[in-house]
């Protein structure tokens, strides 16, 4: 036990004597949170549209002003040539063309229906889908007004209307930041934990001190515990720090029990740190270790459900994702913070992490050799 204490003491001394460490621990998380949370958003604002109104009637103008008046749209161009609008889209100046054909009003009044056209830039499928959804909503809204205007109360009596009312659970204002912050916090502790632990033992290999340690009677388990505990403490602190920043800057909800968060985090960090340790046992230089860690980190993070939905991944990828520790912890964080989930709700993810921790750590201990 005392041996472990001496290693921990030494690691802390070295970490804090390293001048670049403190900024990494305190400044990087804040910067990352502020930039990523504000930048990585799916919210649609300022969809740039080009209006081709060939009808120029009061009805068509009303429709166009519906779009112009919405905070989500910005009319960039008004033209009578569809070709000109298309050119703008090719140049990337507009995201959508709204075309109202000639005779729109007449048709609407005489025949009871008329058509308009949306042309949407779908290079980014997700954005295009959202643009379409927003535009359809505006059109529906407009449709209802038109019906109201052109019918007498007597006629109205016969019309049955089904209205949908939305209620968004767990994130009632559809605040994207609320959704992103917990995920980004996971990213943060993952990066810190994986890189620090991955580079640490390799560094001792590089400078040669590992040999000096290997000739001592120290036990493998003592050495590994002494190496993991400092980074575990730093990463736990990092998480607490990040949560406070998230609360203060973005006022993220904390519906569930924070104890649950830290309990899961303690297991999760054990997984990540052991993973870093495993990497450092199979590499010989800090450079190699960085590359290997980086490779896994990118795969883990892209498949974690942070930016894309796991449910929309193909089945094989979803199966593969069971090996992704980041996925489990992001789910736990979101469930507990946003939904207020209890232990019973997250237990499946939690136990998965526990099994993962045991497996990866025993693998790392097996791989670490005092004798070559």
């Amino acid at each position: 036990m005392k041996t472990i204490f001496y290693i921990i003491q030494k690691e802390f001394l070295q970490v804090f004597r390293n001048k670049s460490m403190l900024p990494i621990i305190f400044v990087v998380p804040i910067v990352q949170l502020i930039i990523l949370v504000n930048a990585a958003t799916f919210e649609m604002k300022h969809i740039r549209i080009s209006v081709v109104d060939l009808d120029l009637s009061s009805t068509s103008r009303k429709l166009v002003s519906k779009f112009g008046g919405s905070p989500f749209y910005q009319v960039r161009q008004t033209t009578f040539s569809y070709k000109a609008a298309e050119d703008e889209m090719k140049k990337g100046q507009v995201d959508m063309i709204l075309q109202v054909p000639a005779g729109f009003e007449k048709k609407l009044i005489c025949e009871g229906q008329a058509k308009v056209q949306f042309v949407i830039n779908a290079i980014n499928g997700q954005t295009a889908g959202l643009t379409n959804a927003y535009s359809t909503m505006i059109l529906l809204d407009y449709n209802r007004e038109v019906v109201m205007e052109n019918t007498t109360p007597a006629m109205m009596a016969g019309v049955k209307n089904i209205l949908t009312e939305y209620s968004y659970w767990y994130n009632p204002k559809l605040n994207y930041k609320t959704y992103m912050v917990p995920g980004i916090l996971v990213l943060l502790v993952t990066i810190i934990g994986l890189l620090l632990s991955g580079m640490n033992i390799v560094r001792e290999k590089e400078i040669g001190t590992i040999e000096q340690i290997n000739v001592t009677p120290i036990k493998k388990i003592q050495f590994i515990a002494g190496k993991l505990i400092p980074f575990w403490i730093i990463a736990m602190f990092e998480l607490a720090f990040g949560l406070s920043v998230g609360k203060l800057l973005f006022n993220i909800p904390m519906e569930g029990n924070l104890g649950l968060i830290f309990m899961s985090a303690s297991v999760y960090l054990f997984v990540i740190l052991s993973f870093g340790l495993l990497v450092s046992t199979i590499t010989n230089t800090q450079q190699q270790s960085m590359l290997v860690s980086f490779f896994f980190m990118v795969v883990f993070i892209l498949m974690s459900g942070l930016f894309t939905s796991i449910e929309s991944m193909p089945q094989w990828a979803q199966n593969l994702d069971r090996l992704n520790p980041v996925m489990y912890f992001i789910r736990i964080m979101r469930m507990v913070l946003l939904k207020g989930s209890s232990f019973a709700d997250i237990s499946q993810h939690f136990w998965s992490l526990c099994i993962y921790a045991v497996l990866i750590n025993s693998l790392a201990i097996r791989r670490y050799r005092k004798v070559s």
């Binding site: 005392k2 041996t3 040669g208 001190t209 040999e211 000096q212 000739v215």
Partner: protein, 272 residues
Amino acid sequence: MDEPTEDIIIVKDLVKSFGSFTANDHLTFSVKRGEIFGFLGANGAGKTTTIKILCGLSYPTSGELSIAGFDIYTQREKVKRNIGYMSQRFSLYDDLTVYENIRFYGGIYGLAKKEIDTRSKSLMERLGFEASRNKLIRDIPLGWKQKLAFSVAILHNPRIVFLDEPTGGVDPVTRRQFWDMIFEAAHDGITVFVTTHYMDEAEYCDRVSIMVDGRIAAMDTPDNLKQQFGAPSMNEVFIKLARATSPPVPLSQGRGGAGGEAANNTESVKWT
């Protein structure tokens, strides 16, 4: 204490091969307690390989080894408790202070806090390091670092200390001081196993073995070796041996007798 002539390192038929390359080819030797044993050889002769095996850092391919009375295969941790090691590469932490390094190594050998403090205090007094107690290792001169590394290697009072080219790159004055420390340790009963390729240092050893191409080409006291090879210094002995065993020696052909004589001598040494 046991009788002073007890063999503290016993090596029988040690072989270490890396693929088809044999770094240690059937080494057999023993070192007596309290001896300063010089393990000499040219670069790449296999010295570091042997020392790593003796310290338990590397597995031998075959052979019997007993270190401080313990078997290297089955009692590895007990062996480690009784040895100290100072590697060729620098073994202290650059970003820790002198005292922090001592405390760390003392700590992982399981010394009590009080013990660490008293030993580090007397150690620094002896080395005259008191003023540098809180200096980072990276800020002190190389010679000091080597002396400190040696002191740290014997901080836990091991029975044997292995030194792998401890004086590489150190100035002659510091080297001399370093050897004074070695004598002192030997005087205190610590067996010293030292590799070097400075032949003047070989003269300080009680007994030396000279390794050429993975084999022990000669082993005796420096005086006996000089006599045997008819050489005035260990340097000459070493050159004669190294020439005789590496086959193409155009230089020695011109000198006629000297090369041949050395070769004969080597043969006789090998078989003794």
